[in-house]
Every structure is written in structure tokens, then in C-alpha cells.
Amino acid sequence: MNTAPRRTEWMEPGEESDRVREAQGGNTQAFGRIVRCYQRAVHRVAYGVTRNVGDADDVTQETFLRAWQAIGRFRVGEPLYPWLARIALNVSFSLLRRRKRRPETALEPLVEAGAQWSGSDDPVENAAAGERDERIARAYAGLSEEHRAVLALRVVEDLSYEEIARTLRIPVGTVMSRLSRARAELRSRLGTVTGESQ
């Protein structure tokens, strides 16, 4: 089962509360600390949804900017990341909606991803891995926003059901059923995509 190795990059709750309080007082350095701590996680969510480094950069910037502007309304003591992830998802989806097109697929991340995960030096295998990723990404991009959000938080970010529930502001039971439907949908789309490509 999934462990949560990335969680180590989150701030300690106590420190987080302190930084948030300072940021609410207008301390940009404290907020800068928050940015540096969470930007990778936010960027991952953004990239998962947009599949484009430039877009993910923009979304990350916009997310933190909005968070900064709204930090006064954040309740100290709550975990910060679900809140950030929620903003990031909203920004990402509205970016895609505005653009009315599927996310771009740049070549380099695919190649890199292939190299990273295939664990092989064989170019043929790498290429195959890249192709597989591309297929999955396309199937994922065809899902509804709800499903994409829940999958990004669970699979990419490895959040617990409670954290997902808090991020999306839905009950835990809904997270469970939505995830299972999202996976089923993804599988069936993958089947379709594969069928087409063969």
C-alpha cells in the first residue's frame, strides 16, 4: 500500500501555524518560507492537471498569489496544503477551461519520465514507456474535472481520503466512491485508447 514519503516535505504543524500567523501580519518572508516548502507539491498538482511545465509554473504562481491575498481568511491551525491544493486545482481547471483545449504534451517530460521510471537504458523500452505514459495522460485528460481532481490528489499527491475530503470539501464517503468511479472510468478509457492505437 502507498506510504507517504512526500509528506516529509510538509511543514511541521506548529511551524506552519506560526508562518501562517506571520504571513497574516503581512510578513512576506514567512510566506516565502511557505512558498518554498509547498511549491513542489502545488506544482505537481498543477502539472498533473495541465501536463505542461509552463502552465504548471503559471498555476503555481497564481495559486500562491491568491493564497497570499486570502491568507487573512485562512483559519490558523488547519493544514495548509489541502487549502493550497484546492486553489491550485481551481486555477488549473479554469486555465484549461479558458483555453478550451486539452493540455499540451511536451516531449521532454515524456522522455524524462520514460528515463525516470522505466529504469532501463534501452531506448526502445524507454520509448515504449513514453508512449504508454502519453496514452494514460490522454485518457486522464478525457475525464471529468471531478475525477481528475480526485485522482491527482490521491495518485500524484498521495493524500489520504480525509485530506482529499477537506481539499475538495466533500464527505469522505464521496471521496471513496468518486475515486473508484474515476478509476473505473480511466480504465475503460484506457481500453478505448488502446483499442484505437492498436
Binding site: 486570502a70 500524484v156 475515486l179
Partner: protein
């Protein structure tokens, strides 16, 4: 045996089942190969999805991203302070919520609509009253004129001037002479009534509205009748044109008909000037125009003035005076004509002031000119733009252009391929001679130093005062590139200040983006120089093998493209150092 359903499988895979369900599910898995396979499929699916959706752009990327975010946050200013949100703050915050805002907006709109409806209703009720008032004012205005002449007191009119809208038979038959007094206060009819312009008779019939000799129908207004009686039939100057006594008495509505425009009188009373339409069979065509000061325009063509007339406001005054002077002795009907005639006679083709033409409001003046290069050769196809309006034209083969320009001081911008952009302040006035605009060619030698040749355009420096952060080499770059470059330049400055190698790397990464944007353009080499510099500084501060490699790479790729100059020499020295 009951299989695990999709939700359970998915939750089991995520480790999110409660202990009891989980124990049951695991027992089931032990005996059901099908469910085990399904769970395994889920695992594989997640794994490949994670692989497909994840991408780590690296530390340098995040260093520069964080720097950019911090920059934007610093620019955005302080967050909204929580403490500051009291009652008002809460209201403000709730107003920022779109839905609340929509509700408030619709409520306000409703109130406004209700208000408008109410006002309309009321004015509808008052319409009759207003008509009566109008008639009364008209009577007063006319009466005042006469009073000026005859020294009579006004109380009579005032007393008499409030007839009910419903016709009442005139109590007293008028004497034989018809008095047009109430009927024909022509605009500016008396010298004393410059402001109390009222009432242009609509038809001859109305003009002849004075009580007829017999007063048989009894339809004339009481005020008219009264005055007529008082006057004993003495015709006022304004009556000169009234038809002879005995003309058919007007219809009952005669009184309201007479007045359709009344302005503030000298004594401060005012009646809303009302549009006559609908109430008059045929509104007198020239008079309203004349009265409203448009004389300039109708008169001008007759005068055959050259397009440069005189400033509109002046003419206005002029015409008004003219009007008041003219009317008493003139015959009313063709008022416009009269005015025109008078103007022809009296007005010397006026001031040679740069005048704002009637066309000023509508079209504009035509400013023409020639665009030439330094050697006096015409520059064809140069774009001449009116900066504030964004309107532009291209020069023809002879370098000639004509551009419509609103009067006043304007800025023209001239842009042509191969020349430096030019800005020129012009004073748009009709008499302005053709402009001679000389473009300076772009020197090919400039290209050498920084690659900062403005091939196509570049905002002239006047409009973009050098911000200290903007990188010089990019000052003439297109906007987007300029912005990117100044962002990168700021990062570089920050790196210089903090003397931090990672910051230099972040700056280099940002310059890489600038370079990507400037791809193959004139600014690419400049961006490469910046990259090389940042990479070199990073290496210089904290030398590592990777940084040495990156610096060598960046320096080399700059040097192979670099034109002769200081930057190239510097880069060569740096490369030597890195290699050693």
C-alpha cells in the same frame, strides 16, 4: 461468495477501509483470485498514472519559480488583514463574493427601475399642470416685454395667467384689434429679452391666435384677452407680423400651443424647456436651430467661409447677440435666412485664429506630410500613427501621407522597416503646413555591440523612461520580451546582491526563458550573454564540476555567436578562467 465491489477494492488499495471491513476484505482476497487480480490491476493503473502525471523540473527551476512568486507577492502588497475586518470589512468581503454582489446589484437595479417608474407616473399626472404652467410663463414672458415698452405693471398678466387646461370661455370679449401679444413672443423678440426666449409660433394660425374680434368661440386665453383689453389694441412691435384682426380664432389649445420652449428668464423663473414634438403640427424649421446656437453651422456654408471659421464658442456668442439685435425689426418666419443674411452683411470673415472647426467634433483636421530619410529620399510604406488614438496610415510611394487628426496637440509616431522609430509632436490646426518627417536609418554597425537593433519597432525611449531594472539591451525589444528580460534582470540583481550561486542559477534559468522567447531574433545573442554571465558567476561563487560545465557551455554558445565587442572579450576571459 460475495465479491468485493469497486468502491471497496479502490479503498482497500488506498488503505482507507476501516479495520473491520478491511479484515473481511482481506479474508476474501485470500480465497478469491479474481478480486486479487482486480486489486493488482488497480495498483498498476495507479502506478502508471502517477508516472504519466508526475514531472520534476528540478531544483534550479523551483529556485527561480520561488523567486518569481516572491517578486509578485512583494508587488501585490500586503494581504487583507484579518483584524481589519470588522462589520464594514465583513460587508466589503461579502460584497466581493460574486453571488452576493449579483444579489445586491439586482436589488439596486430594482430600486432604480421602481424609482423611474414612479417619477414617470408622477410627471404623467403633472403633465396637464405643466402645460398650464407653460402657457402661463409664455404669457409672462410676452407680457414682460410689453411691460418694458409700455411701463405697465405685470400683475394683470399674472393674475390672468393661470387658465385651467380645460377651456373656459373667455370672460370678456376682446376688443376689435387683435393682439398677438400672448401669441408671438418670438425668441429674443425684444432687446430686453435675451434670455427669455420662448415660443415660436407653429403656424400662421397660431400666430393669429389672438382673440378674434367677436371672440365668439371664446377660446382665447384669458390672459391674452385681458391684455388685449388693457392695451386697447395697441400692437407691439412683435406683432408686426401678426395677421390682421379678424383672423380665425384658434382652437382651444391655442395657449399651450404657443409655447414650446421656455428657458430661464432674467428674473430667475424657469420652466423646463420642452420638446415640441407631437404637439405641433409643423414645428418651425429654422428657428430652433438658430435659437440653440447652431447658427454657425447653418450660416457658414452661406457665407462660403473657408473651412477655417472661428472657434465655435465665439460664434455662439456672436450669433446670440446677433439674434437679439436682429429680431425686433425682422420678419420672423425665415429666421435662419435672416440670420444668414445678417451675418453675411455684418460679419467680416472673422479671426484668423486657429479655429476649431465644426468638423472638429466629428471628424478632425487633415494633417499631411512627407516622410523622408536622411538623404531626402521618400520612405514608402512607413506607418504613421496618431499615438493617442491608435489610428494610422501608410505613406505612399512618394512618402506622402494624410491623416485625420483631432485638433490640438497630438503625437505622431512614424515607423518604417530599417529606420529608427520617430515621434513628433504636432499641433493640429488647419493652417499647419505639411510636415516634413525625417527618419534616421538603423545603423548596421550597431548590431555588433549587443544585438539590440530595432528592426521593426521599439517604443521610443521617451515613453519608456529607463526603469533601473530594465535591461538596456532589451529596451527596444517587443513588450513581452522586454518584460521577461526585466524579470530576469531583477533576478540577476538579486543574485548579485545576495552573492548566492543558486540565485545566479535561477537567474540563468530565467534568462534561458528569455532566450527561448527571443528565439532567432536580434535579442537572442544578448540573452545568451546574460545566461553565460549568470552561469559564470554561479561557478565563480561556488565552483562545482556541474557549474563549470554549465558555464563553459553557456560561454561557448555565446562566443560562437558573439559580435566583436566588450561582451565578447569579457566572455572569452571568463571562459579561460573556467577552463583553468
Amino acid at each position: 461468495m460475495k465479491h468485493l465491489n469497486a468502491d471497496e477494492l479502490s479503498a482497500l488499495h488506498d488503505g482507507a477501509l476501516d479495520p473491520e471491513t478491511r479484515a473481511r476484505a482481506e479474508r476474501h482476497l485470500g480465497e478469491c483470485a479474481e478480486c486479487r487480480a482486480a486489486l493488482e490491476t488497480l495498483g498498476r493503473l495507479d502506478e502508471s498514472l502517477a508516472a504519466a502525471l508526475a514531472h520534476d523540473p528540478g531544483d534550479a527551476h523551483f529556485e527561480s519559480l520561488a523567486a518569481r512568486i516572491e517578486e509578485r507577492i512583494a508587488a501585490a502588497g500586503a494581504p487583507e488583514a484579518r483584524a481589519a475586518r470588522g462589520w464594514l470589512g465583513g460587508l466589503g468581503a461579502s460584497l466581493r463574493r460574486p453571488r452576493t454582489l449579483a444579489w445586491v446589484g439586482s436589488a439596486l437595479a430594482l430600486v432604480v427601475v421602481a424609482g423611474v417608474v414612479l417619477i414617470n407616473l408622477q410627471s404623467g399626472e403633472n403633465a396637464a399642470l405643466r402645460d398650464r404652467m407653460l402657457a402661463q410663463r409664455a404669457g409672462q414672458a410676452a407680457g414682460r416685454e410689453r411691460a418694458d415698452e409700455t411701463g405697465r405693471a405685470q400683475h394683470a398678466e399674472e393674475r390672468a395667467g393661470a387658465p385651467a387646461p380645460v377651456p373656459e370661455p373667455a370672460p370678456v370679449p376682446a376688443p376689435g384689434a387683435a393682439s398677438g401679444a400672448a401669441s408671438a413672443p418670438i425668441p429674443g423678440a425684444g432687446p430686453a429679452s435675451e434670455n427669455a426666449q420662448a415660443v415660436v409660433p407653429a403656424t400662421d394660425k397660431t400666430r393669429a391666435s389672438a382673440p378674434a374680434a367677436g371672440g365668439a368661440e371664446g377660446s382665447a386665453t384669458p390672459s391674452a384677452a385681458l391684455r388685449a383689453r388693457e392695451e386697447g389694441g395697441k400692437p407691439s412691435p412683435a406683432q408686426a407680423t401678426t395677421p390682421a384682426p379678424g383672423a380665425p380664432a384658434p382652437h382651444r389649445e391655442a395657449a399651450p400651443r404657443r409655447a414650446y420652449e421656455v428657458k430661464r428668464g432674467p428674473s430667475g423663473e424657469d420652466v423646463p424647456a420642452r420638446k415640441p414634438e407631437g404637439r405641433f403640427a409643423q414645428p418651425p424649421p429654422p428657428a430652433p436651430r438658430a435659437a440653440s446656437g447652431d447658427v454657425t453651422q447653418s450660416a457658414k456654408p452661406r457665407l462660403a467661409l473657408p473651412l477655417d471659421g472661428q472657434p465655435a464658442p465665439r460664434l455662439d456668442e456672436e450669433s446670440k447677440k446677433d439674434l437679439s439685435a436682429a429680431t425686433p425689426e425682422s420678419t420672423p418666419p425665415p429666421l435662419g435666412k435672416t440670420l444668414a443674411g445678417r451675418r453675411t452683411a455684418e460679419l467680416p470673415p472673422e479671426p484668423e485664429k486657429p479655429k476649431v472647426e465644426a468638423g472638429a467634433q466629428a471628424a478632425g483636421l487633415l494633417v499631411c506630410g512627407d516622410v523622408k530619410d536622411a538623404l531626402g529620399r521618400p520612405v514608402a510604406s512607413a506607418t504613421v500613427t496618431l499615438v493617442t488614438f491608435g489610428r494610422g496610415v501608410s505613406t505612399d510611394a512618394g512618402g506622402h501621407f494624410c491623416l485625420e487628426v483631432p485638433p490640438g496637440d497630438q503625437t505622431l509616431s512614424v515607423i518604417a522597416v530599417g529606420y529608427k522609430p520617430l515621434r513628433r509632436e504636432v499641433h493640429a490646426a488647419p493652417e499647419v503646413p505639411a510636415l516634413a518627417l525625417t527618419l534616421e536609418a538603423v545603423s548596421a554597425l550597431d548590431q555588433g555591440r549587443s544585438g539590440s537593433v530595432s528592426w521593426f519597432r521599439g517604443p521610443p525611449q521617451a515613453t519608456f523612461p529607463q526603469e533601473e531594472s530594465a535591461d538596456d539591451a532589451f529596451r527596444t525589444a517587443p513588450r513581452a520580451l522586454q518584460a521577461a528580460a526585466s524579470g530576469a534582470a531583477r533576478l540577476t540583481e538579486a543574485a548579485v546582491r545576495s552573492k548566492s550561486a543558486p540565485r545566479f542559477e535561477a537567474a540563468a534559468a530565467d534568462w534561458e526563458r528569455v532566450r527561448a522567447r527571443a528565439k532567432d531574433g536580434p535579442f537572442e545573442v544578448a540573452a545568451r550573454y546574460r545566461i553565460a554571465e549568470a552561469r559564470f558567476r554561479a561557478w565563480e561563487l561556488e565552483p562545482t564540476a556541474n557549474r563549470a560545465f554549465a558555464a563553459t557551455d553557456a560561454l561557448t554558445s555565446f562566443l560562437v555567436r558573439a559580435p566583436i565587442g566588450v561582451e565578447r572579450d569579457r566572455a572569452a576571459v571568463w571562459l579561460d578562467r573556467v577552463r583553468r
